[in-house]
């Protein structure tokens, strides 16, 4: 399978946020402390056509930023994103409609002053997928596809529930007939039973429409359920990548192992109902990441090399890759559990 969506050495910096005074001082030659945040560092990924790649990590790991870069919302500071060879952005602007996004907050991602039907129709009309006279039928079709009654196209967002709003957001994204769908925490703000509905909808649509998607979530069980492969991020870098079952079952990176271990999991058919463990310490500030491997201060396997050299991502097998000096020990540890 060849790569359909390619992310090539993408980095994204934020800042430095200099005030006007500091800018003038810098021009005059004074040394001004630059505060940049490397939200995403040297990320290379590829997603195959029809595949769902899960992107996991805690807050501040850069997964949302990476998602926005892939979606063409934020230009990368360096590196490129391409769909089927064609670049997504040029000169800081998005030049394709082949990738669309579903955002996290269904309350905030719909214009409160626009009828939902108009919101869904806006993009397709602007890009010639439909015209003003056909728009009504076009939107109704997509409403039905996502499980909404077409009668509701003239309503305003506040008249819908959270789950319904998220369906509208999905309809809006799909109405642009994209090849790639970026879902940024699409079920995080929803109730559990509604989450199930939206997850099922997602699985159904990606299968029927043969969509390639990137599913960003902090909820590991959701990612495990919907993804084919998963990438784990920590402080802007990918630490591990591979098929879901393998990465979750036998993690190659100590952070992955610790992360998965620290989430309370309901295991109904085991002796112990819920299992979890803790990771020491807290995620460091992205303004001042540790030297060498970012995870080394919290890592049970860290050694001297870890504090000096940043591990590069290297293949573990045909399908898996990991960025760790001691991944072999980690894999061995897994077996002994």
């Amino acid at each position: 399978m060849s790569a359909f969506l390619t992310v090539d050495n993408v980095s994204r910096l934020f800042g430095p946020n200099l005030s006007t005074g500091e800018k003038i001082a810098a021009k005059l030659g004074a040394k001004v402390e630059t505060r940049s945040v490397r939200a995403v560092s040297d990320v290379t990924l590829s997603v195959h056509k029809g595949e769902t790649l899960g992107l996991v990590g805690e807050s501040g790991c850069g997964k949302s930023t990476l998602g926005r870069v892939i979606a063409g919302i934020l230009p990368p500071t360096s590196g490129t994103v391409a769909i089927d060879g064609a670049p997504v952005m040029e000169n800081g602007s998005k030049i394709t409609t082949r990738v669309q996004t579903v955002f996290q907050d269904p309350f905030a991602s719909l214009d409160p002053r626009m009828k939902v039907g108009d919101t869904v129709a806006e993009g397709p009309i602007a890009h010639g997928l439909t015209n003003k006279s056909e728009a009504g039928r076009y939107v109704s079709k997509w409403f039905e596809r996502v499980g909404l009654d077409p009668v509701w196209v003239d309503r305003y967002p506040h008249q819908f529930s959270g789950g319904q709003r998220q369906r509208i957001a999905i309809a809006r994204a799909l109405a642009m007939q994209p090849d790639v769908l970026i879902c940024d925490e699409p079920v995080a703000s929803l109730d559990v039973s509604i989450q199930a509905q939206i997850i099922n909808l997602f699985l159904e649509l990606t299968r029927d429409l043969k969509l390639t998607s990137v599913f960003i979530s902090h909820d590991l069980s959701v990612v495990q359920h919907v993804s084919d492969r998963v990438a784990v991020m920590y402080l802007g870098r990918i630490v591990e990548l591979g098929p879901v079952a393998q990465v979750f079952g036998t993690p190659a990176h100590p952070y992955t192992a610790a992360l998965f271990g620290s989430v309370p999991k309901l295991v109904l058919d085991a002796e112990e109902l819920v299992y979890f463990d803790t990771i020491e310490g807290e995620v460091p500030s992205p303004l001042a990441p540790p030297t060498g491997c970012y995870f080394h201060p919290r890592c049970p396997l860290s050694s001297e090399i870890c504090s000096v050299t940043q591990p590069l991502i290297q293949p573990v097998s045909d399908l898996r890759a990991v960025a760790c000096h001691h991944f072999k020990s980690q894999l061995a540890d897994n077996v002994s559990h």
Partner: protein, 327 residues
């Protein structure tokens, strides 16, 4: 069982709004023993948060407790004056809120806030108050406690702030702590730390804990018994493991089935059709009936709580029991 430290019977809290009466909590009953951890589980609109607020007497207009009794250490709370309630709030029963940023005053140092919390119920010298505050901060796992007393909330991370909130809740060794989704806003790994902490603290101090959450896994890691709420009432309650492995109420079963963790990857999850009913216009009879695939005509009457072997459920057609089930 010795006398429960908290005994709630038929609690009802209604909101009298412009649009009508919202029966946020409608006939909730449960007991809590000393040192026991109970999970109050439900989705949004289930009434779990309002229940928590009712216990502390923090329900604001247009809502108020309209019926029922809340007995804390034998004292009836619903008939107390605001002044008497305030004397107990923080001392015998306290609350931890979801958002640590909102709980702490950004203009005061941690030490000052803890001092205020102490002063509300006790007369202590400055030195004694500081010592108690530092002691509690250490107990909740904050290093260099005495120094940290002089720090401001913004100098702490989210997880640390929540620990401070927990410390404040524990200042007067209350009999009961009500925790409203305390780890929802925190990172996964921090959540794990807080969970461990709470479990140990409850055990050490003998404080009973009501953990309100929508996350079954989180709650189940701590609580020895669960109460599942739907549309303002408890639809099922019982020991955690039994309830999760062998649920009786169809809603509980549906909720467990909706969790990706309990399903096979890629397979559609069990979906509870429809949405939670509007509390302004609840259907007659069992509120879950419209969404339930086991409902019959009998469900047009409101089911009472069936009690059996320390478990309870409000259903005429419970799962796993030999009752009439529609084909």
């Amino acid at each position: 069982m010795t006398d429960p430290v908290l005994s709630v019977e038929n609690l009802s809290t209604h909101f009298f709004t412009r649009a009508g009466v919202v029966k946020a909590v409608d006939g909730v009953s449960f007991d809590l023993a000393k040192g026991e951890i109970m999970g109050l589980v439900g989705e949004s609109g289930s009434g779990k948060t309002v229940t928590g607020f009712s216990l502390l007497g923090l329900v604001d207009a247009p809502g108020r407790i309209v019926a029922g009794s809340i007995k804390l250490n034998g004292t009836e709370l619903t008939t107390l004056s605001e002044k008497a309630l305030r004397a107990r709030r923080g001392r015998e029963i306290s609350m931890i809120f979801q958002d640590p940023i909102a709980t702490l005053n950004p203009m005061l140092t941690i030490g000052q806030q803890m001092r205020l919390a102490i002063d509300a119920h006790e007369r202590l010298s400055a030195r004694a108050a500081e010592a108690r505050a530092a002691d509690l901060l250490t107990q909740v796992g904050i290093p260099s406690a005495s120094a940290r007393l002089r720090a401001y909330p913004h100098e702490f991370s989210g997880g640390m702030r929540q620990r401070v909130a927990i410390a404040i809740a524990l200042l007067h060794h209350p009999a009961v702590i009500v925790a409203d989704e305390p780890t929802t806003a925190l990172d996964v790994s921090i959540q794990a730390q807080i969970l461990f902490q709470m479990r140990d603290l409850a055990r050490e101090t003998g404080t009973a804990l009501i953990w309100i959450s929508h996350d079954l896994a989180v709650v189940s890691s701590l609580a020895s018994k669960l109460a599942v709420m739907y549309a303002g009432r408890i639809v099922e309650q019982g020991p955690t493991a039994k309830l999760l492995r062998d649920p009786r109420h169809p809603y509980t079963a549906g909720l467990i089935g909706s969790l990706p963790a309990t399903a096979k990857p890629g397979v559609p999850l069990t979906q509870i059709p429809g949405t939670t009913p509007s509390l302004l216009s609840l259907p007659r009879g069992c509120p879950f009936a419209p969404r339930c695939d086991r409902s019959t005509k009998r469900c047009g009457t409101d089911p009472e709580m069936t009690l059996q072997d320390g478990r309870g459920w409000r259903c005429f057609h419970p799962v796993g029991q030999d009752t009439e089930v529609p084909a």
